[in-house]
């Protein structure tokens, strides 16, 4: 029996663990990865003030702090199921069953796949996979790669690969189809790209972002976009070409690209081959929510948050007593926001377990989440605030109907 169990040792889970431990709770953190940090491990980018955000170092610091506060960790441990029994949460793992009254789901996000013909060939991987190979394991994903999907995540990782001496032949779009619809549409892609503009070394992106604020100008922009593409961190970005096939006998040997019109349609006869020994697919991130679904948490589809998210309050509570959520399971945002949410969740868990006098602190922590969001270096969705407000409104509605129900039954 632990006072608190946290599933996921990314920035949200680790910060929550530290916060719980600081308030006297004994904490167990479970993660199926080999070490602490989650997606934070691979992060590496230059911040607007010129300093480097080094996810590996941040992870190590959080982990060391947690260990010094007595937090217990089970790595290489997958959680198979969670359920509530006799007012306790039961966590079933491949290394035994654990019990708690305060369970936090900080499972993070997964990458949406974008199927392209040939995508099962060895050498094709998610863009996050290339990031982990390069920055965490320090093994080059290959000599020369092509990145399919131009978005916030893939442009940052292209820069990281460039930094590690891996050549990226180009970033380009997938061909539009029923699945890859948004990722294949140049004007929507441009919209999302504007949110890494401060990091871009290409004047087109940097100054372009100011000009391209409204939809009309953005559509003009895509029509007049250079056919040859442009460069960001020395990597060519092609918004007028799309990968229509990945080829290779037993492993990746290259991709076939074709010119596309502004609406995403392929120009016949424009196909050409680009040689590469690896291909990254970047379809964007979505919240990893299976455990919340197993627990029976209500869900809402909020596109601005990246998909289906479990209903939760600003204090990171779910409608199920003793079950909390923090980090990307609540919506796709950067590591700093996840950590701020983790702190709020940790305080909410401490309060739930009976610790008094934390009201001011949790209010301050909720403010910090908002402040961190407003000053975020990387924004995954331009309308993140809209998404956050939507889920909080749903929470209020559910609370009001619960009170009405209780009054009626009372």
């Amino acid at each position: 029996m632990f006072k608190a169990i946290i599933i996921g040792s990314g920035p949200a889970g680790l910060t929550a663990a530290i916060t719980c431990a600081e308030n006297g709770l004994d904490v167990l953190v479970i993660d199926e990865y080999m070490s602490a940090g989650g997606r934070l491990l691979g992060q590496l980018y230059e911040q607007p003030d010129g300093s480097w955000w080094n996810g590996l170092r941040e992870s190590k610091n959080l982990y060391t702090t947690a260990i010094s506060l007595g937090v217990k960790f089970h790595f290489n441990t997958s959680v198979n199921n969670i359920e509530k029994r006799n007012n306790r949460w039961v966590v079933y793992t491949e290394k035994g069953t654990f019990y708690t009254e305060n369970l936090l789901l900080a499972t993070g996000a997964a990458e949406s796949p974008v199927p392209v013909p040939g995508w099962t060939l060895p050498g094709v991987m998610s863009v996050g996979a290339a990031q982990v190979m390069t920055n965490v394991h320090r093994v080059k994903p290959g000599k020369r790669g092509v990145i399919i999907g131009v978005n916030v995540l893939s442009s940052v990782i292209a820069m990281e690969l460039h930094l590690a001496g891996v050549e990226i032949a180009c970033l380009t779009l997938p061909k539009m189809n029923s699945i890859a619809n948004k990722e294949g549409n140049p004007s929507q892609v441009l919209d999302s790209l504007l949110h890494v503009s401060h990091m871009a070394t290409s004047p087109l992106i940097r100054y372009g972002s100011k000009l391209l604020k409204n939809d009309f100008i953005k559509n003009l922009g895509i029509h007049f976009y250079p056919k040859k593409g442009f460069k960001m961190w020395n990597t060519p970005i092609q918004l007028r070409k799309a990968v229509i096939e990945i080829y290779g006998k037993d492993e990746v040997e290259g991709v076939v690209v074709a010119a596309i019109k502004a609406n995403g349609e392929v120009v016949p006869g424009s196909e050409e081959r680009i040689q590469a020994d690896f291909v990254c697919i970047a379809g964007g991130l979505y919240p990893l929510v299976e455990l919340a679904a197993l627990a029976g948490c209500p869900f809402f589809l909020v596109e601005e948050l990246g998909g289906h998210v479990p209903l939760h309050s600003e204090k990171m509570e779910t409608p199920l007593e003793g079950l909390f959520v923090a980090g990307n399971i609540t919506g796709i945002e950067g590591a700093k926001v996840a950590a701020a949410q983790g702190r709020t969740a940790g305080l909410a868990m401490a309060i739930h377990s009976g610790i008094k006098g934390l009201d001011t602190e949790i209010r301050h922590s909720m403010d910090m989440v908002k402040q961190t969001r407003e000053s975020a270096d990387i924004q995954f969705h331009p309308e993140i605030e809209v998404g956050r407000k939507r889920i909080l409104r749903e929470w209020e509605i559910s609370q009001t109907s619960k009170q009405n129900h209780e009054a009626l039954m009372g």
Partner: protein
């Protein structure tokens, strides 16, 4: 063949590495202790980790963080182990699974 990033302009030099020996499909390789099996294999130029059970087509890592199960291999006789989240240990025996013999489909 890919290579290790020994010296990184921001992350610096790789520290505290301990070499170990392991086998993959009966051939012996060297890797770094506690790195992921997938990383150790890729550093040795190995991308193909298994062959799809039905079609026999080659497969390698996809997500590299344990979600997709594309990298499953047999480790010390235990099948279905995800190479991307399994730390490499001295003497590990790793094998890729292959196409299963399926009876002719009944017409």
């Amino acid at each position: 063949m890919t290579e290790r990033i020994i010296d990184h302009p921001i992350l610096g030099k790789m520290e505290d590495v301990n070499h170990v020996t392991f086998s993959f499909n009966n051939r012996v390789y060297k890797g770094l202790e506690n790195e992921s099996l997938a990383a150790a294999l890729l550093a040795n130029g190995i991308r193909t980790l298994r062959y799809q059970e039905e079609s026999g087509s080659p497969r390698g890592i996809y997500c590299n963080i344990g979600h997709c199960y594309e990298c499953r291999v047999t480790v010390n006789g235990q099948p279905g182990i995800r190479a991307c989240i399994t730390p490499l240990k001295e003497g590990m025996t790793v094998e890729s699974s292959g196409q299963l013999k399926i009876k002719e489909k009944e017409v």
